[in-house]
């Protein structure tokens, strides 16, 4: 596999985590333009864990996810009841706050002959845990997708349970959800922590793939894209945002013929979908229909099997 194809696969995997993160917030009825903030917090935390403190790669990934989740919880405590424009503006401000804070954040320690760690505007170089542990980059990219598959399955099961039901209820009608006794604030904070953790894990994977992170990686366009992935792919299933990522990076960016027009086509698609299919390709009604068809098919097969 060429380096280019590998880098595309890595980006699809890594950005899928951020897209999933924005997706769970969309289900909660919150439009976030700030998931890049949690992404970069996870990246820095993971880098500090492995490059500065010598933690193994797995420990670094866990630190990234945990830092993202913690930041998500803190953000959630202050923004749990904010909705609509106020939440969108608050999340955008958070993303920018993180980016600007990292411009002055220094946390350097001597590792051998080198000073390693975040160095303000110069970024954070030398996150080499992947290479010092001898893992081939191809296996790492495969690992990213394996982890994504695990997280996807966990997200599907979580969203099918009571928590998922609560998230969807709050997302559709917060007042009605409150009148059945749902602890709105608690569910919102927990969901924002989950979203922060997902984005943080994406950041941790990115930091070890790129070996370098900088405040510029908290670019607002990452947040905007991750939001658009769910709106394009659909909000009926966690596969929706992954489909959005695959469409954008896997199709629009990877084909030379289309890549020059990527932003025009992607932006146009998002606008078109917001008008004609506001909850995306795999919206709730479509997923419900597909689920019923699959169940009927399964029942038909079972009956045919019993009849034999």
């Amino acid at each position: 596999m060429s380096d280019y194809a590998l880098s595309l696969l890595a980006r699809i995997g890594i950005e899928s985590f951020v897209a999933l993160s924005a997706y769970v917030l969309l289900l909660l009825g919150r439009i976030s333009f700030g998931q890049q903030g949690f992404f970069v917090i996870g990246a820095y935390a993971a880098g500090i864990a492995t490059a500065v403190h010598g933690a193994p790669l797995v420990g670094g990934l866990a630190a990234g996810a945990l830092a993202g989740a913690l930041a998500g919880a803190v953000f959630g405590v202050s923004m749990a009841r904010a909705q609509g424009l106020y939440f969108a503006a608050g999340s955008l401000a958070f993303g920018e706050l993180v980016r600007v804070a990292l411009l002055v954040f220094e946390y350097r320690a001597a590792v051998g002959p080198d000073l390693v760690g975040p160095a303000g505007a110069d970024g954070f170089r030398g996150i080499r845990a992947l290479f010092t542990s001898g893992i081939h980059i191809g296996w790492y990219v495969l690992g990213i997708h394996g982890l994504l598959a695990l997280v996807l399955v966990a997200t599907v099961f979580t969203l099918r349970g009571r928590w998922g039901e609560a998230i969807r209820m709050i997302g559709e009608d917060e007042a009605a959800a409150a009148t059945v006794g749902l602890p709105i604030r608690r569910v919102a904070v927990a969901t924002m922590a989950l979203a922060g953790g997902l984005a943080g894990l994406g950041g941790a994977l990115f930091a070890h793939y790129a070996t370098y992170v900088e405040p510029g990686h908290a670019d607002v366009m990452l947040g905007v894209h991750s939001l658009a992935y769910g709106l394009l792919g659909g909000l009926g299933t966690p596969l929706g945002p992954i489909l959005g990522v695959a469409l954008d990076i896997g199709v629009l960016e990877s084909f030379r013929l289309l890549s020059g027009y990527r932003m025009i086509i992607f932006g146009g698609l998002v606008m078109l979908f917001l008008i004609v299919r506001p909850r995306g390709l795999l919206d709730e009604a479509t997923v419900h229909r597909l689920g019923r068809l699959a169940r009927r098919g399964g029942e038909g097969n079972a009956e045919a099997g019993a009849g034999r």
Binding site: R168, A176, T179, V180, I184
Partner: protein
Amino acid sequence: MTLEVDRLSVRLDSTEALRAVGLTASAGELLGLIGPNGAGKTTLLNAIGGLVPLAAGRIAFQGRALTGLSPDQVARARVARTFQSPRLFTRMTVAGNVRAGRSLDPGPGLRLVGLETRAHELAAALTPGEARRLELARALAGEPALLLLDEPCGGLNAAETEAMATLIERAHGAARITILVEHRLGVIRRLCPRVVVLNLGEKIFDGPADGLGSDPRVIEAYLGTSRQ
């Protein structure tokens, strides 16, 4: 078990939607709440449910103050409600709407309102009448001690109204207080031994349904208007 609403005032923007309204209700009571449009009926339910802040007064249920509690805290005090326009979770299944994030079996509730065969459909597929029944099932699923019904027969035809009235009658029990806001006096007279009438945010009548027709203030504010 009692509901005590004491000198309750609610201000919505610059309008005084409720002015020093008081009422008490005891377990087993099915209380009718009527009045012309804008009288403050829904505002009173919203105030009890914690959906609007109070300007003055207090609300207590089962000896516990509901004043200042958030809507979810009020709901956990076993207060449930339906809305003037059904507010279902349309992107969830019918069964999911009854369960509504709680650990309960939606089956009995769905059977009560005759929607058990629609359990796995999306709530968006229901007719307006079915939506009202589903909302009632959702409210009943938590076994509330206080049930607030805001025009549950609104928009229903005669047969559906009759069926809904029967449902409310069956759902109401000796251990429950039900407050029914309704415009159809036939339903109120059939279901509610006691009626409270609001007009322009004030309580103008509180007594047996039989007394409605002979009260001059009710005739002037409500019955007279409806006969015009």
